[in-house]
């Protein structure tokens, strides 16, 4: 698969990789999830994104507050 990367793509990719690789750099796992989700969203220029992480004591799904209703519908499914 051929992927063409602009300079801006490289910058966003590097930022996303740094974020994904450094959960311990964040005060909480929740903040890491939010940062990771937004960084990956920026890489593919998505309109919205959802994080899923199965860890006891953490919500399975994490998203922006605007998407909370949609995520609840997804979780119900």
């Amino acid at each position: 698969m051929k992927v063409t990367l602009s300079e801006a793509d490289f910058v966003r990719l590097e930022s996303a990789m740094r974020t994904l690789l450094s959960p311990m750099a964040f005060e909480t796992i929740d903040r890491w999830r939010t940062a990771s989700r937004r960084a990956v969203q920026a890489v593919v220029q998505a309109d919205t994104a959802i994080s899923m992480l199965p860890c006891d004591g953490e919500p399975l799904l994490e998203c922006d507050t605007d998407d909370a209703q949609a995520v609840a519908a997804y979780a119900a499914y």
Binding site: M1, V40, A49, M52, L53, A73
Partner: protein, 176 residues
Amino acid sequence: MRVRRRELGLEVFNWGEVYDLRALPKTEIYNDFSRPYGLLDATAIVIDVEPGKAPAGLFVYRNREQSPLFGTQGIGLLRLLLPAFRAGVESCRSAFRLREQLSHHVDRLSDGVMLIYARGDVLHDNTVLSDMLAADPESGRLRQELVRIAMVVAAQCEHRGVRHKRRDSVQHHPGR
């Protein structure tokens, strides 16, 4: 509708690869989730972390008509991020396991112990502390006071740590 991700062995995929898009409009997930929220395209990184548990994943969506589809470029970009995502998820899960072990050990202590995040949120009360607070009518105030004292101590430790680091850095640059 069956999600074919596992049987296809996919960890990065577009919804067109795991759903039959012709049958999708008749499905519950489409009518309860995708259509009401205007989702036009979806791509994801999904990895299995433990048998019988939900997978870990990052799902990205397009819901604006003017937004282009993710296409092979989107899939390619997410594939580049897959190893970092896998490593990050593993780190998180390790941290959770350590947190559970720490809570377990703290529960076995004969003194009351409260574990508090640096920002002040309570992570865990051990059994002795829970019993002590449950028996006290002013448990709410006591809890707040414990957190306040811990924050003061943490701030002092941090301040001293910064001072030590500064002193170290001076020692490492003699004659400057």
